[in-house]
Amino acid sequence: MNLELTQQIRDQARGLLKSGTVKGVIGYERASDGLTARPFFAYELTGTDQLIFDETCSHNLVKYLLDKKGEKMAVVVKPCDSLAINLLLNEEQIKREMVFIIGVSCTGVVETAWNQKSQTLQARCQTCRLPKPVVYDFLAEQEPIRRLEGELYPDILEMEAKPIASRREFWHEQFGRCIRCYACRQICPGCYCPECFAEQLSPLWVGIRIALGENELWQTNRTLHLAGRCTGCNECERACPMDIPLSLLNRKLEKEMEELFSFRAGLTSEEQPPFATFRKEEKLGFEE
């Protein structure tokens, strides 16, 4: 456990609850394995002693704000998670005044599973470009840390280099395994439609067969709905019980968005997403 950060978070949470600024604080506590972390909602002062922060705090707690729209909540966010706050603000799913953001200047999270904790930083942390959250009300700080330089999308480039047939084969193999539990959707802070297209009957976009064709429809549409919106927390991939490398899809689009529009989702809450706007610099195909 990172004592320095944990203490700052606990103090902050205590202050917020004591003053009645927030109804609850969404943070992390120790999981039932005694080793990793899990989300935790502190509503009472006593609960704040359970709050922790360390390198196993992978969850993007911003998702939970969608369940707590009517109440002012505090939420602990890592720099990467904070992008999702801007996304939800931009899409008017949350109100800024209803959230108190306890930012954490994180040093990266490691690969974990229940009762397992590796020493390896998660891949996304190795090329993380955010030293601190893009939006916060309080920042739990620690010594600034090294950020590894390097190619942001080595795996995507590798995938792009493959012929289309072998890419198709790769994804058929992956999607073939999908059991359509929709955990990837449920954990995603960008997925909040009251009725997901995948569950609509009229028209029926995706059939209920848990089989390659339908799975592929689900996965590709999910990815497209996140184009320019995915903030890269990679919770979907972490949750997937069938180990489908979803980040390869999400980050491919992230890369395209960067290259085409110099846009990264969540950096601000103001900017119009590229798909909702049209700029003159974009190719018109005819005289302006």
């Binding site: 008017e92 799913q93 009725e195 009229s202 909702a276 005289e287």
Partner: protein
Amino acid sequence: MNRNMDRKIGVYICHCGSNIAGTVDVDAVTEFAQGLPSVVTARNYTYMCSDPGQDLIREDIKNLGINRVVVASCSPLMHERTFRQVCESAGLNRYQFQMANIREHCSWVSEDHGAATEKAKALVSAAISRVYYNEPLETREVPINPNTLVVGGGIAGIQAALEIADSRHKVYLVEREPSIGGHMIQLDKTFPTLDCSACILTPKMSLVGSHPYIELMSYSEVVEVSGYVGNFKVKVKKKPRYVDVDKCTGCGECEKVCPVEAPSEFEYKLANRRAIYRPFPQAVPNVFAIDKRGYPPCRAACPAGVNAQGYIALISQGKFKEALDVLRRTMPFAGVCGRVCTHPCERDCERGKVDQPIAIRSLKRFMADYELKAGREKATPVKRTKEEKVAVIGSGPAGIACAYDLVRQGYPVTVFEAAPKAGGLLRYGIPEYRLPNEIVDNEISYVQELGVEIKTNTLVKNLSEVFNQGYKAIFLATGAGVSQKMNIPGEDTLGVIHALDFLEQISSGAKASLGNKVAVIGGGNAAVDAARVAMRLGVKEVTIVYRRSRAEMPAIPSEIEEMEHEGVKIHFLAAPVKVLSKDNRVTGIQCIRMELGEPDASGRRRPMPIKGSEFDIDVDNVIIAIGQMVNKEMLPKELAFTGWGTLVVDPITLQTNIDGVFAGGDVVSGPADVIAAIATGKEVAVSIDRYLCSVDLKEGRPEARESVKDVPKEGVVTKERAVMPVLELGKRAGSFAEVELGFDETKAVAEAKRCLNCAVCSECQECEKVCEAKAIDHEMQDEVVEEDVGAIVVATGVKVLDHTQFSIYGGGVYPDVISSLQLERMMSAAGPTGGEVICPSNGVHPKDIVFVSCVGSRDERTGNGYCSKVCCMYMAKHAVMLKEHYPETHSYIVYTDARGPGGKIFEEFLTRAQEAGTTYLRGRIDKVSQCDGRLSVSGQDLLKNKTFNIPGDLVVLATGLMPSDGVSKLAQSLNISYDTKNYLLQAHVKLRPVETFTDGIFLAGCAIAPTDIPESVAQGGAAAEYVLKLFSHDVIDAEPMTSIVDISRCSGCLLCRQVCPFTAIEAETLKDGRVVASINESLCKGCGVCVAACRPGAIKLRGFSDQQLLAEVMAL
């Protein structure tokens, strides 16, 4: 799939003569359709859109109970409306109809009968599947605003505006130029009847100007259009014409006094107009406009913003006193700055790009000299209108400039000066041979005469005392009056003098005794001044030691030059290491050689000592001039200082850490030049005024002045810059007489005439003086007005290609190669030559005139492949008229095809031209060259298949027509289509020639394609007729295809609101607190963008349900 029996579909397949039936097997398609579910009947007919065809459908609806109709024929653009009306007339909802396009999509694009037939079947099947799910939709009624916007005040726009206004509907006529009239008003006669163009147009123009139902918005542009038919919202930007349209009487007095000339656009540069102008005397509105392009570079470059173009323009007119007034609007120091200014204005002078910059500083000095020579009248004191007293501490240029601005605003201002005389460094720092004291005295007295009180011999050390005396604001402008030390051994030795002390000593008349050899350390103006003063005091050998090279020397280059003339030596790249002495008396100075390293913070290369390169110079005195510092001792302790010893101030407001105390000049910047000090003084005056009026010190403060760009220089004849006469070298030694002698009047006027008038209007404000109507307002700003209209007529016309871009035809190369419109202007009695046709090069009547057709038309090389339509006829007109006026002339017309199409007497007119002796030559020009002083047009005669070579005195290029600039942008905001050449597209070329695809927007005139005057008038009238038809009802049926939100699916992300081009989507909070999108149906145009953007599929478009579309797609 189970099918609902109550769906009864009728399918009608059109042959379109042989258009469809020639390729598609219509019988096979009919038979195929007959067999599809729910199809009750399928028929085909030669022309389904004809009456008998329509009746077929009506009969079936009545007799067979058909309740859904599919017509397979042409494009819906063509006949969807027709067939919907057929359905409606037979009692069926018009939206129970679906069209399959088997002409454009099948027969016209395929020669394969089998494949075309199969595709037709697929499209018919898709339409049937879709129509099965079509639901009846009800149209909505929307009110119509009966006002019209007409864009473009040429003949087409004028015609449309008048027709509509005569029917008592309000028209806003927006014209980009200062006057309406378009190209037609530039013409002399119009073909083929040879009516006088102005005679037939000006009555219409004046009608527009006086019509009670027309609001003329000239010199204005449409910037934004939103809304839809019957309910457009239009934003029009009224460009500032700096003349109040309502007050101006058109008397023209202003024009007479305007010192600035610019080529007249109306006369195609054959004549000049003034900066304040009216394009032509019959202009409507008959109102002047000022062509003001911004800040001239000289003014933008001046830290104090002195309007150099303004006084130069007036000098060029011999209005020297008025010129000085222009300068004094900014600051009082014509004589001072005319001598010592570092003149950044000259560095940026555009004239410098032609030959050399204007001698701006010298012209400034000239004005002061002129006044002084004539004897300056005492200035009239400014009336005190303000109570709050202001204290200025320090009477240098910053302090005086500030006091000057404040006193003119009515403030009581007192200047406190510690020295016995006012002027600060102007007096004590600059030697008299450069700036005589009488000049400083004169200009300071001028400021005193205005009402500024100056208390000399008054040292202020306590600011609270000043406040206690009732001053409400203080300006600290105490300068940087202490010389910097070198910090080398021996600096305190007898014989080492500091430059400022030295100069002050001399200025105040004290004697100084120097030895035979003097070294001056430093490279700034103070060093140069000290060196030159030393020479004047009779020193034999003066050497400047400077640690960098000549390029880095900060002193004014002309001063350095004069100094060297006077015999001063400069030792570059050397720095003193120690002062050598004997018996505490200077004997010499040890220096070290330097080399230049990397650039330092100032951008100059940093000098680095070369080890072991020390050398000695024998001198008797060392004058140190390496810089000045603020004298901290003399300033109140409570002020905040920077690490450099200067005062800390806010960079924008110049306020110090003490409220109400401002600072500027050298005390803030460290040693800088006079003009910079003046600039800060002026800036402080602004701050103090705001401070005393309790206005926010920063909010809305004017931003940096942006210089005009792209100053035209074509045709500028080079002329040497006037040289400043100087005192002979021999007369300088031992004398402090002024070295520079100043310009005389002739020289000044000639030099001023070199000015390019970069900003056109020079803001000399002479016009304002003579305008009795008080119509001129130089401060006028852009104004955007918003109007609601129900219909729009676009008549933006064309521009004529610039003939100077056709250099192969000699355009822009030879002055006697002109454009047709230039010829037209020459022929006009009201034109630049009073109706005389002459060769521009020599003013002689031409004998042989060669007309070249299709210049930039029918020629893809220049971008226009199309025919500009009017040229054949006007060339004939020109030839006929030339012959009439000048029987001795001979016209050649080199043409591609010469036709007068369309009956009337067009063709006869061409014949008349030939009968008048015109030589018609079908050919292509290779080049136009000059030979023996005459032009020579050579090319290929395509009829005789040989080359020709026609000598001519005048070549007239019939340049082609192009849509006006900015049309595509206007079309985009109007949401109407345009072609690759930017001509606007009609809804149907033949049947809907003035309508667009956007309801309520109509077209007229050359914006559609090149047309002649009668056609433009006809189109203007036709467009007006459509507008009036629209206005014949109070309401209009709007398409029912609007978006609807399924709130149970809506996620409230409101992406739809972001993408909606019609601002038809708003957020709505439901009872349970959930926020969802809500469509304002009266704004929704049914474009469907929101449908595509909606991730959860909550938005649907009526008439385009998922079910309809899927059924249509699945049937393919």
